[in-house]
């Protein structure tokens, strides 16, 4: 699934590890989402949306990225 995670993370100036720490997931998970190799679960997607203060559909557009 296409997403804006890498862009939003860069705007905040966070590293993948720092974002992973805030979400309680591994850095590998953040990297896999950013590279569109892995689609997050709904709870994790909502956590991301809340953290970036963005609507969930702005983060993920639902189109297949792979």
């Amino acid at each position: 699934m296409k997403n804006q995670l890498r862009v939003l993370r860069a705007l905040k100036g966070w590293s993948q590890g720092e974002l992973a720490d805030q979400l309680g997931v591994s850095r590998q998970t953040i990297n896999a989402i950013e590279t569109e190799k892995y689609d997050p679960s709904l709870p994790l997607a909502f956590k991301l949306a809340r953290l970036f203060k963005q609507p969930i559909e702005r983060l993920f557009d639902g189109e297949e990225g792979r």
Binding site: A20, S26, A32, K37, Y38, L44
Partner: protein
């Protein structure tokens, strides 16, 4: 809490390997092996014991094995969602791979290819070793896909 490479810390030869975590996870496996070997030794030394006594004694490792299983379940529950997916793929790879290896070995054994050793098919120790090796391989493959 960053759970980066959490499962890696239990895997020997990985960069994040932690002996303390490995011991905490695998302590019950070591206990079950020790209990099994002790039970085997006692049963061999006392052939006059009743079949029920011998059977119950040989089954004593089941308790530490159940505790080992509980340690694994706790570990998997503590993983983040991607790590859980990777472990699921690794376990499926190991389980189905072991079935396949067992089928091949048994079939070749039935055809008389093996003269010694594996002529009765894949035993429990060989099956466990195959499963462990395939779990490592499956985990490495799944990790590579999501890297």
């Amino acid at each position: 809490m960053n759970q980066t490479n959490l499962i890696e810390s239990y895997r020997p030869c990985s960069g994040s390997y932690s002996l303390k975590k490995d011991l905490r996870l695998n302590a019950w496996l070591a206990v079950s092996m020790a209990v099994y070997l002790t039970a085997l030794f006692l049963v061999k030394r006392h052939p006059a014991w009743s079949p029920w006594s011998r059977g119950l004694l040989l089954l004593t490792p089941v308790l530490p094995v159940l505790l080992y299983l509980r340690a694994w379940i706790r570990l998997v529950r503590g993983l983040d969602e991607l790590q859980r997916l990777i472990q699921l793929e690794a376990f499926l790879f190991a389980a189905l791979g072991t079935l396949l290896v067992g089928f091949v070995v048994n079939t070749l054994g039935a055809a008389g290819v093996w003269r010694e050793g594996l002529n009765h098919g894949l035993g429990l120790p060989e099956g466990c070793m195959a499963m462990f090796a395939l779990w490592l391989a499956g985990g490495a493959l799944a990790n590579r896909r999501y890297r």
